[in-house]
């Protein structure tokens, strides 16, 4: 049995719009990946614990609430506490351009804004995992 790419798609924070996360989850599935979709309103601890139990290769966060600068560091911290701080993470949603360098500084691989083609997300994941 071959190894499949496993991706955790999570929506941390309080906004209730999961359309984008679902579209990305489907696109990743259609690209042959196994996508664990956790649904809305995940706390940082829930995201990190799911990533650990599912032994995922990549974590995708969908954040539309504007709370990314607060949520991302907390999630990274929870991941580090569990010894999986090295799992690559990308963020999608509404992130002001000014925040992107700061997120990347924290360790986020890529930030995808509205209008991103799903192919770009698939390509990023393949690129990260080939490194």
């Amino acid at each position: 049995m071959e190894k499949k790419i496993r991706v955790l798609m999570a929506k941390p924070g309080l906004d209730g719009h999961d359309r984008g996360a679902k579209v990305v989850a489907r696109a990743l599935r259609d690209a042959g990946m196994e996508v664990i979709y956790t649904g809305l309103r995940q706390t940082p601890a829930m995201v990190a614990e799911a990533a650990l139990q599912e032994d995922v290769d990549v974590i995708g966060l969908s954040i539309l609430s504007g709370a990314h600068m607060a949520l991302v560091p907390r999630i990274l911290e929870e991941l580090r506490q569990r010894g999986i701080g090295d799992v690559p993470m990308f963020v999608g949603g509404i992130v002001p351009p000014d925040d992107v360098p700061a997120l990347k500084e924290m360790g986020v691989c890529e930030v995808f804004g509205p209008g991103t083609r799903t192919e770009a997300v698939v390509a990023l994941i393949h690129q990260i995992l080939e490194q």
Partner: protein, 331 residues
Amino acid sequence: MTLVAAALAGERRALARLLSLVENGATEGRAALATLFPRTGHAHIIGITGSPGAGKSTLLNRLAREFRNRGQTLAIVAVDPTSPYSGGALLGDRLRMRDLVTDEGIFIRSMASRGHPGGVAYATRDVALTLDAVGFPIILVETVGAGQSQVDVARVAHTIVLVEAPGMGDDIQALKAGLMEIADILVVNKSDRAEARQTVRALQAVLHGASAAGHHGPAMAEGEPEAFVGGWEVPILQTSALENEGIAELVDTIEEHRAYLRKSGQWGRILKRHARAEVETWLQRHLLLLLEERVGEARLEEAVGVVLRHEQDPATVARELLQPLWSPEEK
């Protein structure tokens, strides 16, 4: 410390990695399972199956909570279908288990069916065995939304809970020959709905129809050993996972079934059935590997050509292909 040792010591990250190796059938995974196997055989593995939309995940979430309230730790293996087109999968069972995620007494693992048609994945049993070996006393296995013939959970679980939603009507007839035969406990979920009573009655009719035939009809003469020697009367329970109703009764019934299995000697029979199925599965896998090694793709293609040109029939051709597997003295 090796991955196996770390997993046995209770390190969750090591366990998660180990499960991936086991699931992928990697050499390291198989070696780990070989090491762990003597430690297995202690967990009570409970299969949760039923039609898509019956509410399996929500019910499983409630069940897990109830077991936790009774002081048990447990693991959950949730299987969702792999897309036959892309080979990918959307594993969404965690959506309904959000309140279990950060409980340290619970370990949840999602699995894709990866092309296996039986309602669970090829590796589901191996994953369950690994969780058994590291000491989870209860393992809940949720199948894909299953139809009548997806009965492979019987190769994994000791107790099988079949969950259906109200309004099934005639569909229950369809389940009669497959899933209902392997079910130990029937659950009508969403019992807050008006049609629930009807579904219970339909299930009763099917169950009692079966046992009436057993008592009075020709089936009795043939013995029907599973149903009658066993002496477990399949109960029909009603739950509302959403309202958290009937859950304690379901856990009680699951525990009664376990006690019954132990007392009646059925437990041993199930283990024997599992062991036999596993050895047969591995025989097939090893044979296929051996075929790949000793026969190879080129000769297989050649054989296909022979059949295509109508020079020889496929059964004869296949027999001749197997020649390299027999050592000279055995021929």
